[in-house]
Subunit: 342 residues, 2 copies
Amino acid sequence: MSEFDLIRRHFTRATPNTLLGVGDDAALLQVSEGNVLAVSSDMLVCGTHFFADADPYLLGHKTLAVNLSDMAAMGANPRWATLALSLPTQDEVWLEAFSAGFFSLAQQHGVELIGGDTTRGPLNLCVTILGEVPQKLALRRDGAQVGDEVWVSGTLGDAALGLAHLQGKIDLPEDTRIHCLSALHQPAPRVALGLALRDVATSAIDISDGLLSDLGHILERSQVGAEIDFSMLPVAEVLRKNLTHPTPPLSGREHPTPPLTRGGWEGLEVSFIQHCLLSGGDDYELCFTAPAIHHAEILGIGEQLNLPLTRIGKIIAGQGCVVQDATGNPLNIESTGYDHFR
Amino acid sequence: MSEFDLIRRHFTRATPNTLLGVGDDAALLQVSEGNVLAVSSDMLVCGTHFFADADPYLLGHKTLAVNLSDMAAMGANPRWATLALSLPTQDEVWLEAFSAGFFSLAQQHGVELIGGDTTRGPLNLCVTILGEVPQKLALRRDGAQVGDEVWVSGTLGDAALGLAHLQGKIDLPEDTRIHCLSALHQPAPRVALGLALRDVATSAIDISDGLLSDLGHILERSQVGAEIDFSMLPVAEVLRKNLTHPTPPLSGREHPTPPLTRGGWEGLEVSFIQHCLLSGGDDYELCFTAPAIHHAEILGIGEQLNLPLTRIGKIIAGQGCVVQDATGNPLNIESTGYDHFR
């Protein structure tokens, strides 16, 4: 099968919302009135972002998901994507599964694949995503204000624990493992949340490199600091119940958190758990800031989306992020976020 | 140096024509009124598209050039680009030269780098280019009409000869070698030509995989055939003068061509020369069709741009492409264009 047949068979679907889709020198598209275009590119490399034997369906999902997550973090409505692939061989079974995973998520979000490139080489996947947002409602990184509350969606550290399990560093019990590997392989991009936050959040970012690293970008761009309460960090129920010293159940979405500082989970060091929660990558949850006046409204958005939203701290004057334990004392944090070149 | 410092140092330049550039989850841009957005992605892989020891400045140029060429072939005005790089190591000297080559060409064309990704892995470069064109003036592949003339810009086969020289298949004399390697490493994207052709051409494509392959896409999408006159194919003067049996000089841009069918260049087989002209990739010239009534106007555009434009044949009813020699007999063509998976 030729390169052109490959594209036709696996990567050409109807694009009713595009003026001209796959098959010309460029795609043509029309940005809706009142919107500007949001554009982001993410590259996934075999051996760096995923293992060579990664399930191709899940990889197709994740390749698009990490890009959708950027649209979510911008408050943008994802519309179109291009996909450039470098493939070592032409494996029909792999391509079939990969494209099925990619298009399944694309369809859920109304995203049309409008072009790309196919070439021979080490396995490498590069997506450029294009979305729409009214200019003034975009959730930029530079809008956080002193006094704003700091929020995160979902739970933290699950993907990092899943990765540690795959790397043989830890051995998770079955229910925890299933949960964490699902978080790692099939992140759910928080697109609906990004859209819902357009009118309330002052800044947002998606957590891809770890909470401290990504929140750090908001702080740097907004020229502010933050105080984070470690005991407030949202932890998945399936992890919480594996605590060596079980803690009382969640009293509500506003206070979802076990005092992890007092003890580790079965067999896990406290410092490792800290690392996963604060610096674990690949969560693809949103971290955002909003004025305290919107607190109840934000909890309501979480209810509506069936997605826990947790206030984890506040924006303060100054710079950098202080993480405190339940008693208000600063934690000694060793690790920062993932950096490809550190 | 961290990933973020790397981006700041090498890939962050002013973007006055972008609402929000490098440094957020996505860039924000505004498409000019009356235009639609043209989008295309191209990936360059080490070992497939270039050698590992390729000059990084030239590679930076070419990485953007092949993408600009897609805008040219669409009649679009290139405006913005994203760049995703996978790098095996963080080599400051390499990055400095690569980004200099990239931005030098970007500046020439008023293109702003608005985002991208940097990651560790085998050397791989993926650019997505974004341009503008009024919807009705876009040079699509599906507009060729029976009776149209078929044109190409510049000269053909130079890059393929340069590549063959680098691969040790042939040994070019010095002046020819300099010319052919320049064509291979520093293709000049025909953006100004694409813009000038908006009102006259019925279809266009850039020649990246070889004339027959790329013209084939126009024919397929337009559901027409073509007759190409081999003796009309434009050959660089520096090559022509190395003919074993020199031919009369060009009588004008309209008839620029030596009868290559009668003999090879010094030491080169006729079939190899045929291959370079008809199927050599990497030329990044434009192949386009236009009604014969625009013939003089097109020659005038070539004069104005100081770029030879040559009529090489015509569109006929039917399908596929027939290449004829100077006496009107069909040539026996063995090779087709480059295909990564054939």
